[in-house]
């Protein structure tokens, strides 16, 4: 069971903020991991949606930095002198899979909803897979099961700590509870930094439209903030937890309550949507006030149990773990047979490139036996 002499051979899809942070973290730890654990990190390839650069002997730190710099300018990786350029990701997987390297890992730090077939292909070709991309695990149940089947048939492994709560040990904790035979009763989470921030702002008396405006200014929102307000990202995270629990749910199984009306969701532009947003201020002011009067606050809470799942605004006691949550922090709470009286709670910054990349890095180290 020794880890000495291990190698991680990485084919990495997605060189956005998370992908770049991951490369930097890996480079910063590369020498120490080799010295302390004999663990080598060989970077076989880096890919964007427009193609991959491959190098079987592994890129140097300098070549990786050049690739990141080029990708940041949105130019094609084909312009770089190092490595072989391959125009498509399936082709890159086929080529790198053909090298039959032990310790081969495919990393997906994209936000693409089209990569599930490629990930299944990679698992079938002997790659372990590590994701921060939620979409391949939160699509149809058939897609999800195809990934599990590919793992089982090939003896490869799929890890995804960073998909829920970024670097917080949410998946690790769920996995440990299940594998040590605890009985899960309920999982609840506040899993959107954006919506957490808005809920806290409403509690502090800010009008809804101004709370959103502040969240946008601080960089907490998607370019179209409706993507946050509709709750879909939270629903994806909860679906991932539910499926790992063993609940065979299609995405529709989760009751999803948007923070805005259908009408506002359908405004043709972000500007038109924002212009109409103050319409909601009075409603949210009343809600906040009503809750305050009874010692409660509103939180956007996702709940999963065998009885069902929901993602919605809920009034909770101010003194509860969710009521005490502030700002953009994420919180996940596991009620189990062993943690029935006192649920197991994990809380902290649950979004951002650095902590998300750290979640991916931790998975890589677990695959290598270092964690």
């Amino acid at each position: 069971m020794s880890t000495s002499g291990r190698e991680l051979c990485l084919l990495h899809l997605g060189i956005g903020q998370v992908g770049r942070a991951l490369v930097q973290q890996l480079l910063a730890r590369r020498q120490e991991l080799q010295a302390d654990y004999g663990l080598k990190i060989r970077y076989l390839g880096l890919a964007t949606s427009r193609g991959a650069l491959l190098e079987p002997s592994g890129f140097s730190a300098e070549e990786l930095q050049q690739t990141l710099a080029l990708a940041a300018t949105k130019r094609s990786l084909s312009e770089l002198g190092s490595g072989d350029f391959v125009a498509s990701i399936p082709e890159a997987i086929a080529i790198a899979g053909g090298w039959q390297l032990p310790g081969a890992v495919l990393i997906d730090t994209t936000a693409s909803d089209e990569l599930a077939p490629e990930l299944a292909q990679a698992l079938g070709r002997g790659f372990d897979v590590v994701l921060s991309n939620k979409k391949p695990l939160a699509g149809t149940l058939a897609e999800y099961q195809a990934l599990q089947d590919a793992c089982r048939q090939s003896g490869t492994r799929l890890r995804y700590e960073a998909t829920v709560g970024a670097g917080l040990p949410v998946i690790h904790t769920l996995e440990t509870l299940i594998q040590t035979g605890d009985e899960l009763l309920e999982i609840q989470g506040s899993l959107s930094g954006t919506l957490g921030f808005i809920c806290t702002s409403l509690e502090d008396g800010l009008p809804f439209s101004q709370a959103l405006e502040r969240a946008r200014r601080l960089g907490y929102c998607e370019p179209d903030p409706r993507q946050d307000l509709e709750g879909l990202d939270v629903a994806r995270k909860m679906l991932i937890l539910a499926r790992r629990w063993g609940l065979p749910w299609e995405p529709e199984a989760l009751q999803l309550e948007s923070m805005i009306s259908n009408e506002l969701s359908q405004e043709p532009t972000v500007a038109a949507f924002l212009a109409r947003l103050p319409q909601l201020d009075e409603e949210y002011r009343q809600r906040a006030e009503g809750a305050r009067a009874s010692g409660q606050v509103w939180r956007y809470i996702a709940t999963v149990s065998p009885e069902g799942g929901s993602v919605r605004l809920a009034a909770v006691e101010r003194e509860s773990s969710f009521g005490q949550l502030r700002g953009t922090d994420s919180l996940v709470q596991f009620k189990t047979a062993r943690y029935r009286e006192s649920p197991l709670i994990i809380r902290g910054a649950g979004a951002g490139p650095e902590v998300t990349a750290a979640g991916v890095f931790g998975d890589l180290l677990a695959l290598a036996g270092v964690l």
Copy 2:
């Protein structure tokens, strides 16, 4: 990196409450782990301080249950018909080590402060070691380093999730932060269910002596409650975190503030100590009231950073994560470069046989590559 065909070959020291809970958890999951991961669990031996029963082909579930039943009556394991009885633990380690089994793991769920040499011996003979026993990691620095050296020289591994916060993922989180290159700034913890309960009771207006009486009645205390009140158990946990951080501390490096005076600590009997306890009620009443007046509460808090470590009663804001802690829950908070604004917090039941055994079980599964 596949886990198929793995085996865990266990030599288990300590058949108290935690040890028994662990055997039951392992038995309950044995078949599923084999079916899902090809992981076999072979129980080579069970030991108390008075000797071990060994069986190289592994004990059956029935034999394990018989051994537990016998150990619960405090009778010698030599009375059992199954396995070979060996009178000392070093001898048991020597014999089982001689079998040269891959996947050999020594488990220490005792509370003994004398086993550090045996654990080093086991690591040297090819056993990985998993502990819930804090004492081998919280003795002299030389003892601690001898264990680390034995790991390095033999390529074996030492895991100890259950030593801090029982089944809560405290060590996993610390390890992940370190291995992914985060910069630790400060670790704080409320790590005694007993002292947490007493602090909450003081906050609720109960006199100190009655708070302790209630904690005793609920079974939260050691037979001699001064062992809790003096804070030594909390200090051991913090020393384990500090050493993993890389701080080369002797136990004396931690400033330790007892909740009772030296004079009371030195009473010859528990009864004499308890009789004098109401002496402290007025002091603690004033403390609680003084804190309340400024929106604060008292918590027994351990702090570690490169500047030093302390374990002491501290007044904290009622709104802080520690101020919001209630009852016997444990809480650990990591401030790091990545979690500077919002510390990473883990909270929940941090003591008890079931959750402690689960911490050990999780470590075993990590060694086998299942977690």
